[in-house]
């Protein structure tokens, strides 16, 4: 029984960590995409 409880804990933490890590990465990718686009727009405006 204890073994199963530890197993459930590892599974919950493991899947939670995997989804959390990848979700944070997705958020960062979108965020940096937006930031880089705005930087490029600003530089085009300045050049123009």
């Amino acid at each position: 029984m204890i073994k199963w409880m530890i197993g459930l804990k590892i599974c919950a933490f493991g899947l939670g960590a995997v989804f959390l890590c990848l979700a944070v990465l997705i958020a960062f990718i979108y965020l940096f995409g937006i930031i880089l686009k705005s930087i490029e727009k600003n530089s085009v405006k300045k050049a123009g």
Partner: protein, 368 residues
Amino acid sequence: MTSLILNTGIVNLSLGNFVMWLIAFLFIYLAIQKNYEPLLLVPIGFGILAVNLPLTCLMKEGSGLLWKFYHYGLEWEVIPPLIFLGLGALTDFGPMISNPKTLILGAGAQFGVYAAFFGAILIGFDIPEACSIGIIGGADGPTTIFTTVHLAPHLLGATAVAAYSYMSLVPIIQPPIMRLLTTKEERKIRMKQLRPVSKKEKIIFPLITVVVICLIVPASAPLMVMFMLGNLFKECGVVKRLSDTAANELMNIVTILLGISVGATMSAEHFLKPQVIFVFLMGLVAFGFSTAAGILLAKFINIFATEKINPLIGSAGVSAVPMAARVSQIEGAKADPKNFLLMHAMGPNVAGVIGTVVAAGVFLSLGN
């Protein structure tokens, strides 16, 4: 004279040695004739042959040649992170950055890891052993080895060989599951062309990834740090020599040491046990579940998404780069010959590597 005869290997041969020779020859045959993971199966097969030659003492603790490779290479955590350095230098995260949604598919494919983990507990393995068996489902050889060396070193030969065997069998294991879980219409879904990814994004990605993942799961740091360092070498464009070395010469050297070290752990007395059969069985369960979970998650995302995902790319989340992505492409092309899924499948494919490293980090933190 009698003493000389008694000190030859011939009189010390056991039936187990013969069985292991057959396994060694089978691996070498599969590598040479069938081209199944030859870069690994040749040194592994030869390592098995060598370690099952009686009285050679190649794995004698402290002095055996192969023991030194094993001890300083694997037990000291040197070889798997170096392999990850090379993998990083070979990996293009562009398709994943271009369509970040596909990262979730890499996470979905980790369900198989936990299915095998619970399966192993059910069979009677203890927690560290179950962690080592479960991670086979990640289809990532170095991560499997890294985890097993820490948690259940006595299972190293079985888990490593299971991981690499199933990786080479991805084109056989995955397609029936892919066809079973998708309709022909779903397999025909064409995905929007990927946007070009700027160099800046590609340089920033490994830096952010290493910070995010090592902060959340510090135990994954040895693999993740080297993986992202290798990728930074590749993407920054100013250390071409380092990138080339990591991806070629260094990778080749450590692959030789990895293969022969893994093979060396497979002596008859360690390998010929009933539990090895269960390891292989659970490895297959893990692969099947990972494939199915990736596909089903893609179908689930499609319920809400405006831009549909071809569910076939979900199966690529099992890592096995780039074989799993190629299988997605092949199956997609069978339904629609003009549908090109390869680059789309590379997203979940490389995300699967990250997901497996995170899963391994959690096993290492909690599995002891």
